[in-house]
């Protein structure tokens, strides 16, 4: 077991979903899909986004795309036009997830 950055095996896209963001992350092989299903638990993702996400983290699986979809509730400083922060749409949350280190 060695630590790798998620960005070495995965790609991601994120956007806004009310006052939260969604982060979709996907990999290229079934082996890597098993790996991210094991490593990217809602607890680990919530901990990784502790400085950004103030609410719950939900996870959905898309085995057909070798992808996971995360909803990070309360992560935009208020939704829509109420937000004052730079990334009010969570556009950079995908790349933020890819910074995570996982056991491979």
């Amino acid at each position: 077991m060695a630590k790798i950055r998620l960005s070495e095996i995965a790609q991601a896209r994120s956007g806004d979903k009310g006052d939260g963001s969604n982060v979709g992350v996907f990999v290229a092989t079934p082996e890597h899909y098993e790996l991210i299903k094991r490593e990217l638990t809602t607890d680990r993702v919530k901990q990784h986004f502790a400085g950004i996400c103030k609410g719950e983290v939900e996870r959905y699986e898309l085995p057909n795309l070798l992808a996971l979809n995360f909803i990070l509730h309360d992560s935009l400083g208020g939704g829509g036009s109420a937000s004052l922060i730079t990334d009010a749409q969570g556009k950079t949350h995908g790349l933020a997830l890819l910074r995570m280190e996982i056991e491979a």
């Binding site: 991601a12 939704g79 109420a82």
Partner: protein, 453 residues
């Protein structure tokens, strides 16, 4: 019935590049051009414009864009479907008709879809016992009734198909959902039954993939170094078949790329529960889609399963929810972060001296350049400079404007190296609240009207 049609999306949002639609019409074959102009906040801005001018309240960019592609699009037989009508589709239609006459587009038919705008009907609907409870908070709409700015039902593909069936070459609507701009032409061309949930779901998935324009052809792509030809990036085209399968592609010779990965990126965008993507016409199961590369810049999507729609429409309501202001300064090193923190403290301490305070949750302080976007994930650094961003939110407009006056004085009365005061003194702007709700479908009737040039 044609067995294959080409539907492009040339506009991902109001403000997207005008080159998208212009190049889609000129650089290759096309049957339909879909254009998305609306977001929740856009509707409230448009209602405000309309309240000052009965001929305003639609996306004027749409008419400016048509000025570039008419009569060419008409001569090539490209039909256009856009939700550019905003809160005043009739005014948009009049502007398009006037433009088409000036351009000599004899015989061009311009259609309008109406019925999504329920702002004037709200009291009647509330009185009839439909509370339009906020889906996020559970509060009844009466809580914010006197502050409502806009109210629109998300309408789907059948209204678009009906307008096309009435002969429209250009379909102008209000709050037509983004995917329905693409799904509508498919429904019209292939004559699918509204009970054929799998096909409707497939057309929803197709619309979802292209609704943000170049975001599925290499834009916002993780491994961005793999993308070539950024300046002339191709906008996406759906090559749709009557059986519900489709290819995602782009015009030959354009930049960017259509790969399985570029399409998967966009499939995941703004996704909630992938097994139950709710649309006005069906539910779509995104976990059923089979996505495969099928030649260069060609991706095939098949196998999409769907289910029946719910008996409610989603309603997008916006309301006035106070004021906000943000301002920024650049703070150079050495010690850029420490000095920026001091500047932020000075601003709020001076305001307090003058009796103006804000709740902590309504204040924002950012040091852009020192790890704002990925807060808590990057090591603390001492950057050569940072941009200090400050903001506040409050229901008292006077207080918010008072805040805006205390930023620029830092240049002479704060620590050294403060510069870059861009954009003038920040002024209070409206905060627009978003109120998602549901409304029984039998309360909404859409209608279409078509006029010939």
């Amino acid at each position: 019935m044609r067995d294959k049609i080409l539907i492009a999306n040339g506009q991902g949002f109001w403000g997207d590049s005008i080159l998208g639609p212009v190049r889609l019409v000129r650089e290759g074959p096309l049957d339909y051009l879909a254009l998305d102009y609306l977001a929740e906040v856009t509707m409230s801005i448009m209602q405000k414009l309309r309240s000052r001018d009965p001929d305003a309240g639609y996306a004027t960019d749409f008419v400016a864009m048509l000025d570039r592609i008419l009569p060419e699009a008409h001569e090539r037989g490209v039909k256009i479907v856009a939700n550019a009508g905003g809160v005043n589709p009739r005014a948009c239609m009049r502007a398009v008709l006037a433009l088409a006459r000036r351009k000599g587009c004899k015989g061009l038919k311009v259609g309008v879809v109406e019925g999504d705008d329920i702002l004037e009907r709200l009291d009647e609907i509330l009185a009839a016992g439909h509370p339009m409870t906020n889906l996020d908070t559970g509060e009844p709409l009466s809580t914010v009734r006197d502050r409502i700015l806009s109210a629109n039902v998300y309408i789907g593909a059948p209204a678009v198909a009906e307008c096309l069936a009435a002969g429209a070459d250009i379909v102008i609507g209000g709050r037509i959902t983004d995917p329905a701009l693409v799904a509508g032409p498919m429904l019209h061309e292939f004559g699918w039954s509204l009970d054929d949930h799998d096909k409707l779901a497939a057309s929803t998935v197709a619309g979802h993939i292209v609704e943000c324009g170049a975001q599925c052809t290499g834009g916002n792509y993780t491994n961005w170094r793999d993308v070539q030809g950024w300046a002339n990036i191709g906008y996406p085209i759906i090559e749709a078949c009557a059986d519900g399968t489709f290819h995602v592609t782009k015009h030959e010779g354009t930049g960017g790329m259509v790969t399985r990965d570029s399409v998967v990126h966009q499939l995941l965008y703004e996704m909630g529960d992938p097994r139950r993507y709710l649309g006005p016409d069906c539910t779509a199961d995104f976990t059923s889609a089979v996505v495969a590369q099928d030649g260069p810049d060609r991706v095939k999507v098949s196998g999409v399963k769907g289910g029946p729609a719910t008996d409610t429409f989603k309603v997008s309501i916006s309301y006035h929810d106070g004021y906000k202001a943000t301002g920024q300064l650049t703070v150079s090193g050495p010690d850029a972060v420490a000095k920026a923190q001091l500047c932020a403290d000075i601003v709020f301490d001076r305001l307090a001296l003058d009796g103006v305070t804000f709740e902590d949750s309504q204040k924002m302080v950012e040091f852009v350049g020192a790890g704002v976007c990925h807060a808590g994930m990057v090591p603390a650094i001492d950057p050569p400079e940072v941009v200090l961003r400050l903001g506040v939110r409050d229901h008292d407009k006077v207080k918010v404007n008072r805040f805006g006056m205390e930023i620029v004085p830092l240049v002479t009365s704060g620590p050294p190296g403060v510069t870059g005061f861009a954009g003038g003194r920040p002024k209070a702007t409206d905060v627009v609240g978003y109120w998602p709700a549901l409304l029984d479908k039998d309360l909404v009737k859409t209608s279409v009207t078509v006029e010939e040039v």
